[in-house]
């Protein structure tokens, strides 16, 4: 088992390298000449050439990448020109906020999605199944950024139950209850679509598993229906659902871009949107890289969990 995890970790390294190449190339493809952009259009050719040399832009793409990745290993992602601080500092600070939001949503959508899927499968064609199926359809069709606005209107403006924006109260906040209070609406909004996807898949997986011969064996043993469904069938269904939860992690982290903008959550998503509008490309680069790497790690985690569940994969 430990050997397997080590192998999977090793296998993730080329993927992470590939990510750095793609991120580097995307940024290198940006049209226009950075030196001219920095110095303005009246710069002399000598000055442009000098700046290009200083920035390392006269080197080949490959040399530039090697330098860039070398700096990356030293924790140097460059300096944000809009914020005038190291990209890494800003990204890490923002990233923790995103991780709180996306992590909570991921936990919520896993719990609700699995539960709804099981209930739906067990009560197939019953009213609970119909209600859940309809809710799932509505959930995956709702634009999350709009749902966030609606929830703000209802729960923040009208009912005044939850704050409309931010991560902590400006005065006297900062503790866990305050965080949860601020987290509730955005985390719920962010989890809706993923809940729907997971519920749908769990339902199908459960229905598939419940037809298997070993479920008949479990029944022939005289097990209670609760054990048949929640122990025997659910464990098998979970093996199929876990990788999808891993993939949903990507959608949740990505979807955080909208939710952080709507709820003014100080995470990496809202940072990216601002950075794109202000053309602060080093910040975009750093943000994209960190989020993409996290996604790779989430998928790795899903793989490991799947292997823990299914001995045949070891």
């Amino acid at each position: 088992m430990a050997g397997y995890i080590a192998r999977r970790l090793l296998a993730a390294i080329p993927v992470l390298f590939g990510l750095t190449i793609i991120v580097f190339l995307i940024m290198a493809m940006i049209p226009g000449d950075p030196a001219t952009a920095i110095l303005g259009s009246y710069a002399t050719p000598e000055n442009v050439a000098k700046l290009n040399r200083d920035l390392g832009l006269d080197k080949t793409l490959f040399e530039q990448y090697v330098i860039w990745i070398g700096n990356l290993f030293q924790g140097d992602l460059g300096r944000s020109y809009t914020l005038n601080r190291p990209v890494l500092d800003e990204v890490l600070e923002r990233f923790s906020a995103t991780l709180i939001l996306a992590g909570t949503s991921l936990v919520l959508c896993s719990i609700f999605g699995l539960l709804a899927g099981i209930v739906s499968a067990v009560r197939q064609y019953g009213w609970a199944d119909k209600v859940i199926t309809l809710l799932v359809l509505i959930g995956i069709s709702t634009p999350s950024f709009w749902l966030g606005l609606i929830l703000i209107l209802i729960f923040a403006v009208n009912l005044r139950l939850f704050p409309a924006s931010g991560m902590y109260a400006i005065y006297g906040g900062g503790d866990l209850p305050d965080l949860i209070h601020h987290l509730t609406l955005p985390a719920l909004t962010l989890s809706v679509v993923a809940t729907g996807v997971i519920a749908r898949l769990t339902r199908t997986a459960m229905l598939e598993v419940l037809r298997q011969d070993y479920i008949r064996t479990a029944r022939a043993k005289g097990l209670s229906e609760r054990k048949v469904i929640y122990k025997h069938a659910f464990k098998s269904a979970l093996v199929g659902v876990v990788p999808v939860i891993g993939i949903q992690a990507g959608f949740v982290i990505g979807g955080a871009v909208y939710i952080e903008t709507v709820f003014q959550w100080p995470g990496i998503g809202s940072m990216l949107v601002t950075a794109i509008s202000t053309r602060d490309l080093l910040l975009v680069q750093g943000g994209v890289l960190v989020v993409a790497a996290t996604y790779v790690l989430f998928n790795l985690l899903a793989d490991v969990v799947q292997t823990l569940l299914d001995p045949r994969l070891r």
């Binding site: 993927v15 590939g18 990510l19 793609i22 991120v23 995307i26 197939q124 359809l137 509505i138 069709s141 709702t142 634009p143 950024f145 709009w146 606005l149 609606i150 703000i152 209107l153 199908t204 459960m206 229905l207 419940l210 037809r211 070993y214 008949r216 064996t217 029944r219 022939a220 043993k221 005289g222 097990l223 209670s224 048949v228 464990k235 098998s236 990507g250 959608f251 982290i253 990505g254 979807g255 871009v257 909208y258 903008t261 990216l272 949107v273 950075a275 794109i276 509008s277 490309l281 975009v284 994209v288 989020v291 993409a292 996604y295 790779v296 998928n299 569940l309 299914d310 001995p311 045949r312």
Partner: protein, 645 residues
């Protein structure tokens, strides 16, 4: 599922004339609803220039932020006094156009990559798919953001970004299908006839891949509309004065508290659009990919439904016995027709006795075995009549709680394929211990001790170590021993073995048979042994019942039936068994196929395959005539009757 039901289901699919795609689609209420809403939205969006709408871009500061249902502005106005209804319809037009264009671009390039990768295989395939994997390693929306960051904000750039990040979905799906198709005969034939790879790809392969492309499009187009709207909402898509639904929502957000309708209305439109597309898309997928159709995955309930109707329940027979099955009828209702898998079966099993049930696939022997403890899947199965008495207790009438107590307790099963009947994710120890713990109030140490005893009992070496093995780590014979150990866990009175040796090779087969025979003598358990193999019957069973088309056609003591079969079908079955030392013996397969049990002919079900058939065999109901207590045959002109009464 049982073989009868499966072949029946397959039959019904073939025989029912397949209705047209559109008809199937319209049968689905939700899909039809989606189609209607979608068509209405598209029509209105298309007709926008013809409708009497205000100019969507004309500002009128005096009329700013009018509420819904104002004079002249049905949906009110926005912060610049522009008519919201008009902007909504024009915005929908833009969103639809962008979403559809992105879908087509993604479908075109994704399918092309998939076709090439799948057809070319080898290094080309590896190269393309590694690239696709790389792109998929990014969170979807993040990659779109990065692309917009490079290209700069704008509607067209958002469109490209969304199309690009969706290419992998198409490439992956199409590659999988193409890979399968390019190994098929018709592609080989085209290749041999000298067609170029391009011709083969686009003339031979593409038409077969098209349904998958359409399915993938129908499932992604909703997403693409949502995501382009999302980018516009963030201010990275449509730039003013151009507006799509997303940017309307984004602008409205700034005045959410003062004029919520400005942002609520475009959001509702996005929702309606995406929801209708998803409903319709699900319908399309169901029609094009029948495997996924909702009804095809029906969950079997914990116990077979018993619908004995008004027919009186037959009383237990005078013979008594541990297990007494009387006129049992089990049916499957599939696609409107009823398959009588078991059509009135009587069985009687005394203590310590072994009764074999023999028949071809589809004869109803497995369904008979499953019906006794209610293990036939419902739907589609149901017990339509008769009774099964266990020590005088009608198993079809007892409570669910009682049947659970008896299952694995007094009556235990051993099934055919031990690889699929053992749970792959639990160790054999866990599974055996569970079987013990369910029926006996023992401490976990005692349960473990008992589990080890059971494994030793079925001659598994190193029983203690084997407890922590998973089923896939054992050989087929070992797995079946585990299943038998599990069945013996609670001193069952009746052991029902459904082809327990069929999936095993011959030497292991005989070991398992010897084991079962020994256990029967040691424990005095009655065995109901289902098999298609007379050789196995002769090794183990005291008596045998031959089944054909859901009914018993001959029964008697094993030796007697083997020596002097009376039913022509039995005779044929026995001829099929190879005998050691008689290589010249002809092994005749029985010509023809058993009848399908939803439409049994009058008279003898075997008539069509019988060489001795006479006209009177084809009418009326032919009874099982008992010539003695144990011997009976369902034939008007039985063989080998001399010597018996």
């Amino acid at each position: 599922m049982t073989d009868t039901a499966q072949s029946a289901a397959a039959k019904s699919k073939r025989s029912s004339a397949r209705p047209g795609t559109l008809a199937l689609l319209l049968n689905n209420t939700l899909a039809t609803g989606g189609l209607v809403v979608l068509a209405a939205i598209c029509l209105i969006a298309l007709a926008a220039p013809l409708l009497p709408l205000a100019n969507p871009d004309v500002t009128a500061p005096v009329d700013r932020l009018l509420p819904v249902f104002s004079d002249g502005h049905l949906l009110g106005t926005d912060h610049l006094g522009r008519d919201l209804l008009s902007r909504l319809i024009w915005g929908t037009r833009v969103s639809l156009a962008v979403g559809l264009s992105a879908t087509f671009i993604a479908a075109f390039f994704g399918s092309l990559l998939g076709l090439i990768a799948g057809y070319a295989g080898g290094r080309v395939d590896t190269l393309i798919m590694r690239g696709i994997d790389m792109v998929m390693a990014f969170p979807y929306i993040l990659l779109a953001l990065a692309i917009v960051a490079v290209l700069g904000p704008g509607l067209l750039n958002a469109l490209y970004a969304i199309a690009l990040v969706n290419i992998p979905f198409f490439a992956r799906n199409i590659r999988g299908i193409t890979l399968g198709l390019s190994r098929r005969e018709f592609v080989d034939a085209a290749r041999l006839s000298g067609k170029s790879p391009a011709q083969i790809l686009f003339i031979e392969v593409l038409p077969n891949v098209l349904p998958v492309i359409v399915i993938t499009m129908s499932t992604t187009v909703g997403w693409m509309i949502l995501e382009t709207a999302g980018l516009s909402f963030l201010g990275l898509g449509a730039q003013p004065p151009q507006a799509d639904l997303g940017s309307m929502l984004g602008e409205g957000r700034k005045i959410l508290f003062t004029a919520p309708h400005v942002s609520v209305i475009p959001g509702l439109m996005i929702f309606a659009l995406v929801m209708s597309i998803n409903l319709f898309g699900d319908g399309v997928r169901d029609v094009l990919d029948p495997r996924l159709r909702a009804g095809s995955l029906t969950r079997p309930v914990s116990r077979t439904a018993v619908e004995r109707g008004d027919t009186p329940v037959p009383p237990p027979s005078e013979k008594g016995g541990v297990l007494d099955v009387r006129d049992m009828r089990t049916e499957f209702e599939i696609g409107g027709s009823v398959y009588k898998a078991v059509g009135g079966v009587d069985l009687n099993l005394a203590e310590g006795e072994c009764l074999g049930i023999v028949g071809e696939s589809g004869s109803g022997k497995s369904v008979t075995a499953m019906s006794i403890m209610g293990l036939v899947p419902t739907p589609p199965g149901r017990i339509a009549g008769g009774a099964a008495y266990l020590d005088g207790e009608d198993l079809f009438a007892v409570s669910d709680r009682r049947i659970r107590k008896l299952r694995g307790g007094a009556v235990a099963y051993v099934f055919q394929d031990p690889l699929s009947t053992l749970h792959p994710l639990f160790t054999v120890g866990e599974q055996i211990k569970e079987a013990i713990g369910t029926h006996q109030p023992l401490s976990s140490a005692e349960v473990k001790k008992r589990a080890i005893e059971l494994l030793s009992l079925v001659r598994i070496p190193n029983a203690k170590e084997r407890l922590s093995a998973y089923p896939h780590e054992l050989s087929g014979g070992m797995r079946q021993r585990v299943c038998i150990a599990m069945a013996l866990a609670n001193d069952a009175k009746v052991l029902i073995a459904d082809e327990p040796t069929t999936a095993l090779d011959v030497t292991v087969q005989s070991q398992i048979l010897t084991l079962m025979n020994g256990l029967r003598r040691e424990r005095n358990a009655a065995i109901l042994f289902i098999t298609h193999d007379f050789g196995v019957v002769s090794a183990l069973c005291d008596r045998v019942a031959v089944m054909y088309a859901g009914r018993i056609v001959e029964t008697g003591r094993t030796g007697e039936v083997l020596a002097r079969p009376q039913h022509p079908y039995t005779a044929k079955l026995i001829e099929c068994v190879p005998v050691l030392g008689e290589p010249e013996r002809r092994l005749d397969a029985i010509e023809g196929r058993p009848p399908v049990v939803n439409n049994l002919p009058d008279g003898c079900a075997f008539a069509d395959r019988c060489q001795r058939v006479k006209p009177e065999c084809r009418s009326g109901d032919i009874a099982l005539v008992m010539s003695s207590e144990e011997r009976g045959v369902r034939c008007l002109y039985p063989l080998n009757t001399e010597g018996t009464a």
